[in-house]
Amino acid sequence: MTVHNLYIFDRNGSCLYYNEWNRKKQAGISKDEEFKLMYGMLFSIRSFVSKMSPLDMKDGFLSFQTSKYRLHYYETPSGLKFIMNTDLSVSNARDTLQHIYSNLYVEYIVKNPVVMLGQSLDSELFGSRLDSFIRALPYYSPRAA
């Protein structure tokens, strides 16, 4: 049971926020490249999923999993994208990502007029609140996995 890392992208594809908690293997490329790679993949998955779906979809792409981890995806109608990687025991992190959006991002970023929207978030308040929220999650446990 663990949370590996979290990305927040804006609708233009810039990475607003990144943090990691229990990530044993790094990508071996610069963070900027990793963000672009991640966003590019998400962008493709979204279009893939919507084109391949035999039915109209409500939520679209939700998550994928590999043998080792699961990627959870939540997108707001305003195009913000929240991505969290966890181990396989976390089956659904939608509520968690929604909570991060409505109780942390909106409260500490959108309602803070000195934070420019669309730039990387260096608000300490947001960072520390998010960190303690993640650490308090029932499936957060850095030793496992």
Binding site: G79, L80, D95, S102, E107
Partner: protein, 180 residues
């Protein structure tokens, strides 16, 4: 899964008079700062836009409304949910264009103008023009380019206050260029 400390969804109720009077003070100051009404209208629109692009996030987080399928649904959400949530009124949606890309919001009682009487020398001032900017900014954030304007205003002698909204286009999401 715990849903700890979820924010209460009911909005904090505030006396709307404080809001109305603050808005009035803002308009008054703008009228002092700028020579002509056109410029005041423009500034109000600009401020509204900046409010709208942030307000939409608050709105989406609170209302849990997903993406709208068409402009009619958008109109409903604006009138019945958003106006209700932030101004405590529910404008009626009327005058649909045949193509369904244009409609009017009729405001029975615009809370912004509760204590206002426009003097004769401000006949071109669009007093509540902030709302126009808010609507435009908020919709732009959900990929809709919309033209918003006051078509009628009781402050300027019309029978009703009417905001006309015209859908221009969907703003497409683009993959950012490989090297920025």
């Amino acid at each position: 899964m715990s849903r700890q400390a979820n924010r209460t969804t009911d909005s904090k109720k505030m006396n709307s008079e404080l809001f109305t009077l603050t808005y009035g003070a803002l308009v008054t100051q703008l009228c002092k700062d700028y020579e002509n009404d056109e410029e005041v209208n423009k500034q109000l629109d600009k401020m509204g836009y900046n409010i709208g692009v942030r307000l939409i996030e608050d709105f989406l987080a609170r209302s849990n409304i997903g993406r709208c399928q068409d402009f009619r649904e958008t109109a409903d959400v604006i009138a019945k949910v958003a106006f209700k949530m932030y101004l405590g009124i529910t404008p009626s949606v009327t005058n649909w264009s045949p193509a369904g890309d244009e409609f009017s919001l009729i405001l029975e009682n615009n809370p912004l103008v509760d204590f206002v009487e426009l003097p004769d020398n401000h006949s071109t001032l669009i007093y509540s023009n902030l709302l126009v900017g808010v609507l435009r900014g908020a919709l732009e954030m959900v990929q809709m380019a919309v033209d918003v304007r006051f078509a009628q205003d009781t402050l300027r002698g019309d029978n009703v206050t009417e905001i006309r909204m015209k859908f221009i286009k969907r703003i497409e999401e683009n993959l950012p260029a490989g090297d920025e």
